[in-house]
């Protein structure tokens, strides 16, 4: 190897390192400003809402001196910029404050409610992707056929019917009439004394505990709300799959593959879908993130103690620490999933790898 080549290689490696460094630095800056912006906007919206936050703590019937004392204790008498400064300072030290409604540290609350939402969203997304992708592919391949129309209608219903109503209907049919699934809640009360959550993901906990009766019960509880959310994301995923597939199927490499005499199955699943999978990953990741925000209505109907209910309830009571904490978590989830789908992109699409 000549020294010339060595030099070029070293320079290239240098350039590559600095490019990575730059990318990381700009990523950090973007994330930091995003967070700060998120905090500031949520904080000030929370403060201009015409709800007295002390009211949520002491109730309507508290005597005036208790109300005033609590206002001072909570720091609500300080100017907004000072309140914001104190809050950000706390957050940087890992202290998200205390929820006035549950009187727990906000992070402790979120650790409790987030697994419930995440478990539901995960099962929901698996269902949505498992059915949505094949249906989307089918619709694209048989474009304009009856199958395509049926998939379109299924998607349209899933996308436009209010989930609240669909949830109650599902409960009425599958729980109340047919008795195929369990009712609202995460687990039956009979397990209240025998089942000890470890991770907060009940299905996983049941496996860890080797408690198969509980597993069956938990599964019976989660399947209905998860299918509902799954149906909702199926609608979106199948539409997006269809359009990505149509785009791929009209490419020249498909014609080339056909000319080569490859089987249609191989072309569709091996080539077209493989390429469509790249943007599809983002679609699924974002739809997953959407479910993670907590589907408030689903959680209400199914009495599911998740993040959506927690944040909504907090918002209605001007429990701003809880709302801010929840917002940060959701923000982090979005950022993390975006990052994750970026990385997956690179794995799936060789063109995006840094050379």
């Amino acid at each position: 190897m000549s020294s010339m080549e060595n030099q070029t290689q070293a320079r290239r490696a240098n350039r590559r390192a600095s490019a990575i460094l730059k990318a990381v630095a700009s990523f950090v800056v973007i994330v930091a400003t995003t967070y700060l912006g998120l905090l500031a906007v949520t904080f000030f919206i929370g403060r201009v809402v015409p709800i007295d936050p002390v009211l949520a703590i002491v109730g309507d019937r508290a005597p005036a001196h208790v109300v005033e004392r609590t206002r001072i204790e909570m720091g609500f008498n300080l100017p907004y910029y000072q309140q914001f400064y104190l809050y950000v300072k706390g957050v940087l030290q890992g202290d998200f404050g205390t929820s006035v409604l549950t009187t727990n540290p906000v992070m402790a609350d979120i650790r409790r409610v987030f697994p419930a939402t995440m478990e539901l969203a995960t099962v929901g997304t698996i269902i949505g992707a498992a059915f949505g992708i094949p249906l989307g592919v089918l619709a694209a391949v048989k474009r304009g056929s009856l199958a395509d129309q049926i998939v379109r209608i299924i998607g349209l219903i899933g996308y436009s019917v209010p989930i609240f109503w669909l949830g109650l209907l599902a409960l009425l049919v599958f729980y109340a009439r047919l008795g195929w699934t369990a009712g609202p809640g995460r687990i039956d009360v009979v397990f209240e004394y025998t089942f000890t959550p470890i991770t907060g993901f009940y299905l996983l906990d049941a496996v860890l505990n080797r408690d198969w009766a509980a597993f069956k019960d938990i599964f019976a509880h989660i399947i209905l709300p998860a299918s509902l959310l799954g149906y909702f994301s199926l609608a979106y995923i199948s539409r997006m799959t269809r359009s990505f597939m149509l785009n791929e199927l009209s490419q020249e490499y498909i014609v080339a593959a056909r000319a080569k005499g490859l089987s249609e199955t191989r072309i569709i699943w091996g080539h077209a879908l493989r390429n469509a999978a790249v943007p599809l990953v983002t679609v699924i990741a974002l739809s997953y993130a959407g479910l993670l925000e907590g589907s408030v209505l689903t959680e209400t109907v199914f009495a599911w103690p998740g993040l959506g209910l927690y944040i909504t309830n907090s918002l209605q009571n001007a429990d701003m620490n809880a709302v801010l904490g929840g917002t940060i978590i959701i923000g982090s989830v979005f950022i993390a999933l975006n990052l994750f789908s970026d990385l997956l992109y690179r794995l799936l699409d060789p063109r995006t790898r840094i050379r």
């Binding site: 703590i57 508290a62 005597p63 009425l172 008795g179 909504t312 209605q316």
Partner: protein, 546 residues
Amino acid sequence: MMLGKMNGQFRLLLAGAALSAMVFAAPALAVTPADTLVQAWAIDDTITLDPAESFELSPAEFLGNAYDMLVRLDINDTTKVRPGVAESWTVSDDGLTYTFKLKPGLKFASGNPITAADVAWSFERVVKLDKSPAFILTQFGLTKDNVAEKAKAADDSTFVFTVDKSYAPSFVLNCLTATVGAVMDSKLVLEHVAPVTPTDDYKFDNDFGNGWLKTGYAGSGPFKIRDWRANEILVLERNDNYYGDKPALARVIYRHVKESATQRLMLEAGDIDVARNLEPGDLEAVSKNAELTTTSAPKGTVYYISLNQKNENLAKPEVRQALKYLVDYDAIGATLIKGIGEIRQTYQAKGVLGALDSNPFTFDPAKAKELLEKAGLKDGFSVTMDVRNTQPVTGIAESFQQTVGQAGVKVEIIPGDGKQTLTKYRARNHDMYIGQWGMDYWDPNSNAETFTSNPNNADDGTVKTLAWRNAWDVPELTEKTKAALLERDNDKRAAMYKELQQAALDTSPFVLIFQQTEVAGLRGNVKNYKLGPNFDSNFVAPVTKE
């Protein structure tokens, strides 16, 4: 907000859903454990289980079942009290000293003995913590400095309580039935106190176990609180150390379920034994189901429309009276509050001492027009009304908007979230407001004080009663309310409260509409389930399952 909006349309949709589900056959019934009562109830108002701090509805029921007080409300005659931890009591001739003899040999759930020192310490911690419900005790002249002297143990079984004025004994005893009067296991709580840095507002170096008791338990009631997870579940378990009749059931589980329709489905399927938040539509369906029953009891909460006296039109006496003739009481009673409330035009709840049972107003637009003409408002006027977007108040507000229109009064409804309209109301920035008021403790003074007394009507007044919130300046009624507190003859005291209610009917800016009825849907095998007049007397100990 979104939920509120959904709710209206959703009833119709549900009907459709019900129809489409008719085709399916009924499944096998789920059953709850035989020794457990499972109730579905919206329990998201529970923020703490410390009796010194808790002041909301659902925790009142938990605490009422898990703690014991010196005296308890007699639910068979709600104008009286019955013994609790105290076996008997005497009042000194000057009316200042109350001496309670405790029942012998009582134990807390922990096994510690119940002594008069525990009672005294319980009073002391309430007064020193000074949380929302503390005024129920401090109104007897207790302060942080004198409480140790005014509430003290004479010996192990004698507790002496000294009040600052010669109050009506019924008033003092009624207040002691409130959950804030719970007798705490001082030995147990003292093991769990957390250190605090004293400040000007809080001069003590520990929290009296306030932090631990948010979820902890240190009582002696028929049940103990085993577990509480906010917005999820609360579990009561039989207290084997309880001195009285032991509960038949080993445990009572409250599951947080907010939706009426969901509760109904669960009740029908047998996954719960009791549904606590049934709305009129679901209640009707439950009452028609042969396997289910319903039970109900009037509660100490009244619903009213109030008229801010800062508005010059509403301040006219004729206008206040005219508006009382412009509510269609019959229609509201027959539809909007059917099963969940009863028309009531006086502000004291039915069943409380001195409650006046009188409904003089009927829907009479002609009479109202006459009154408005007298007030110089022949052509009516325009006014706003703050309404929170939950039923039944939204429905009542809409009905009222329509019926006052018949006398030329134009009401603009300003919808809002509960806490939002309440914030505005508390700042006296409303014209009209529709709201509810629940009694702080089971005594007529509670509502009399808020509806018909206003010690200082200035904007910076510190006693912000409902009369203050509506800028209704009534020095005479304020004095009379105070005087009723010192009337030691029970009959005379009752008569004084009746006069106050009559004065409110004649002149007040409160258009009282109805008293809330609490209803519950039950599985047919649930027996002896009886709702009390307030939430802390919803006793579950007698309940059995067949």
